[in-house]
């Protein structure tokens, strides 16, 4: 059978399935506060062409720039014209690319195990969920895989262009998120740990390749952080960003402290409010892959075990944890699970048992991925819907449009300690203001106040207002004041 049919066609089908899972109904889930915040920044870049790296509250610039081609292709030129599908398409495409790259990377495991690796990642609940989520994590994961794929080509053939390509991908990693060095170092350490007996097989002229790679990495990262030369100060800010990220990871009282077993629970079993979310079958295969790597694994499997182990230990050791870091573990775990399938196919039960195990686990992962991305997409019991916006946020814009239709030229006031993702939903409206405490004049065509500030706001309103209640997120209720006619 030609290779294009036996190897590339199945991989293309898995990649297309991954793309479908990552793109269907992209606009249905309400925007998370982080997504909204970054989408507004992307919209401002799209509209004005201006961007300046902010090391304090935001990650790398790549995400915002990556929106531009998608927006242009969809004919969107302004923040008001931008929509959820456009911004979420960026991580969705990166997520599908990750599946393709993993299928290519896993080739040494064998034809079917490598396809299984791609399918495990395609159906992985955290990978699917955060591929539909406008944050940096999926871009970081896909550029990490691309960097490793290119680096492996360089190590095999010694061609400098592959080293430069690996460096460019490393630059994209750095431009994604300030935690990129952690994954680059883990990949390097794993490469040393998994090297074949007799030492690493380096190209004949490694200095040239390493130099080209370093130059490409620095050039790509510098281009993005300096806003393509328009904001040179971004380079200096980028250097300080890693230190700030480290401080955040080690810091206490950030509100994101979790126990050390947090990621183990995500990849095994958890129950919340009567709902069970589990990947126990996948976890069993991952464990089997670890054992296979330790016993007689190929260099690739040993690399996956070392890399996943290092990243898991690092992420579990720091108190600061958010569920999207699970995306950084998913590709390595998928490789290990595929390693277990490969090992199983060599045992007495043989190929059929391996195929049955792989298909069962893939099917179950797909079922779980569907649950977390559709019926429970913003449910607080969903382990990936972290401090998520309430579906009520979708009602704010129709209320604002209705209020402005009744009072043309009126003002929308948002008076609340926290107000994201409302700026995204109020995009394109010209007279919207945000206050974290009640201003002297609170009157408006629509006044949104947090429950805590509602008394103070009400005391400053003139005339009669109708009141209703909408949630911003679980436990955070807003009072909406609308002038009575």
């Amino acid at each position: 059978m030609p290779k294009i049919l036996s190897r590339w066609l199945p991989l293309a089908i898995v990649t297309l399935a991954a793309l479908w899972m990552r793109t269907r109904g992209l606009a249905l889930r309400p925007m998370h506060a982080d997504e909204a915040n970054q989408a507004v920044k992307a919209g401002e870049l799209l509209e004005s062409g201006r961007y300046a790296f902010d090391p304090r509250d935001h990650h790398g610039p790549l995400l915002y720039y990556a929106v531009l081609p998608v927006a242009w292709l969809r004919g969107q030129r302004t923040l008001a014209g931008l929509d959820e599908v456009t911004v979420r398409m960026v991580p969705a495409l990166a997520g599908a690319l990750s599946v393709l790259l993993l299928g290519i990377l896993a080739a040494p495991l064998g034809r079917w195990p490598s396809l299984a690796a791609a399918a495990f990642l395609a159906a992985s609940p955290p990978a699917v969920y955060y591929s539909r989520y406008f944050i940096q994590e999926t871009l970081l994961a896909s550029s990490t895989l691309a960097a490793f794929a290119c680096a492996r080509q360089w190590l095999r053939g010694g061609r400098t262009r592959w080293a430069a390509a690996a460096g460019a991908c490393l630059g994209l990693m750095l431009a994604s998120k300030e935690s990129a060095p952690l994954f680059a170092l883990a990949a390097l350490a794993a490469l040393l740990a998994a090297r074949p007996a007799g030492g690493p097989s380096m190209p004949r002229n490694p200095a040239r390749g390493l130099g080209a790679g370093a130059a490409a990495a620095l050039a790509v990262a510098a281009l993005f952080y300096s806003s393509f030369g328009a904001h040179p100060a971004g380079l200096q800010d980028a250097l300080g960003a890693c230190g700030q990220a480290l401080a955040r990871l080690r810091g206490a009282d950030t509100g994101h402290e979790k126990p050390w077993w947090y990621f183990l629970r995500i990849f095994t079993w958890q129950r919340a409010g009567g709902l069970v979310f589990e990947e126990a079958g996948f976890a069993a295969l991952v464990l089997g892959g670890f054992c296979a790597a330790l016993l007689r694994g190929s260099p690739l499997l040993r690399w996956a075990a070392a890399y996943s182990g290092l990243v898991l230990v690092a992420l579990s050791a720091v108190p600061y944890k958010t569920p999207w870091h699970a995306v950084d573990l998913a590709p390595g775990f998928a490789l290990l699970a595929a390693g277990a399938v490969a090992a199983l196919s060599r045992t007495r039960p043989g190929r059929w048992a391996a195929a049955a195990a792989a298909l069962t686990v893939i099917g179950f992962l797909g079922f779980q991925a569907d649950r977390v991305t559709r019926p429970y997409a913003s449910d607080p019991r969903n382990p990936f819907a972290y401090v998520h916006s309430s579906p009520d946020v979708l009602k704010f814009r129709p209320m604002a449009d209705g209020a402005l239709a009744r009072s043309p030229g009126g003002t929308i006031r948002v008076i609340s300690e926290e107000y994201w993702p409302l700026p995204w939903y109020f995009r394109g409206l010209s007279r919207v203001g945000y206050w974290d405490r009640p201003p002297a004049d609170c009157d408006g065509a629509l006044v949104v106040a947090s429950a805590d500030l509602a008394d103070a706001v009400r005391s400053r309103l003139h005339g009669a207002y109708a009141e209703s209640y909408l949630g911003l997120r679980p436990g955070f209720v807003c009072v909406v004041f609308t002038p009575r006619r």
Partner: protein, 222 residues
């Protein structure tokens, strides 16, 4: 003159009726579950959301002496016949704890649950606990009573805080309220009915609808 006489007569009848009613009325004692959240994360302090102090010191609903709990163990039907979480029987099983396994969860949008008392009764009060593990407000809460299981005829609305008409039952003026372990006790005003139906349209945390317990108090008609 005729009008004045009529007014005097009506006033006398009203006074007599209220005197008779006051004489027979006793505070309704509702058994409360233990509070699940000690210190609400974000106290909601808005006047027409029912002030916290008012909720804490809510006066008891007065009911006729001899009023009993009619709904315990009675059959329940709902717009969502196959809830993902819990069972319809949870509404009348007496477990108001609010912990996992004590509440039923209906799907998104407008949903209703209905208690069949088995026979018409003179209703005194309806108490409902939606979900009290977190501060949240349920949207468009409507409570109705009727002798028609389809709620097409003889329907009496006992409570309606649906200020947008989302349920399709008309707009109401009752106040929205924060769910707490105290639930919400509604005066049923002596209406005679066999069925009690409760509506809601999601809540401020998600689009789903929950019931931990529903209690219907009153006296059998016969």
């Amino acid at each position: 003159m005729k009008n004045a006489a009529t007014i005097r007569l009506a006033a006398a009848v009203l006074a007599l009726a209220s005197f008779a009613r006051a004489e027979d009325l006793v505070p309704l004692k509702v058994e409360l579950p233990k509070p699940l959240f000690v210190g609400t994360p974000r106290p909601i302090k808005v006047s027409n959301l029912e002030p916290q102090e008012a909720a804490a010191n809510r006066p008891p609903v007065l009911v006729p002496a001899g009023t009993v709990l009619l709904s315990r163990g009675k059959p329940v039907t709902a717009s969502d016949s196959y809830p993902v979480i819990g069972e319809l029987g949870y509404l009348t099983d007496g477990d108001k704890s609010g912990v996992e396994g004590s509440y039923v969860e209906f799907g998104p949008g407008v949903q209703w649950a209905q208690v069949d008392l088995g026979a018409p009764a003179r209703l005194a009060a309806v108490a409902v606990w939606h979900f009290h593990a977190e501060a949240r407000v349920y949207h468009a809460v409507v409570i109705q009573a009727s002798n028609d299981p389809a709620f097409k005829t003889g329907v009496t609305t006992l409570f309606n805080n649906d200020d947008t008409g989302a349920d399709g039952l008309g707009k109401g003026t009752d106040l929205a309220y924060v769910e707490t372990y105290k639930g919400r006790v509604v005066d049923a005003k002596g209406v005679v009915a066999r069925y009690v139906r409760l509506y809601s349209d999601g809540n401020t945390s998600d689009e789903l609808n929950h019931y931990t317990e529903v209690e219907v108090y009153g006296k059998p008609v016969n």
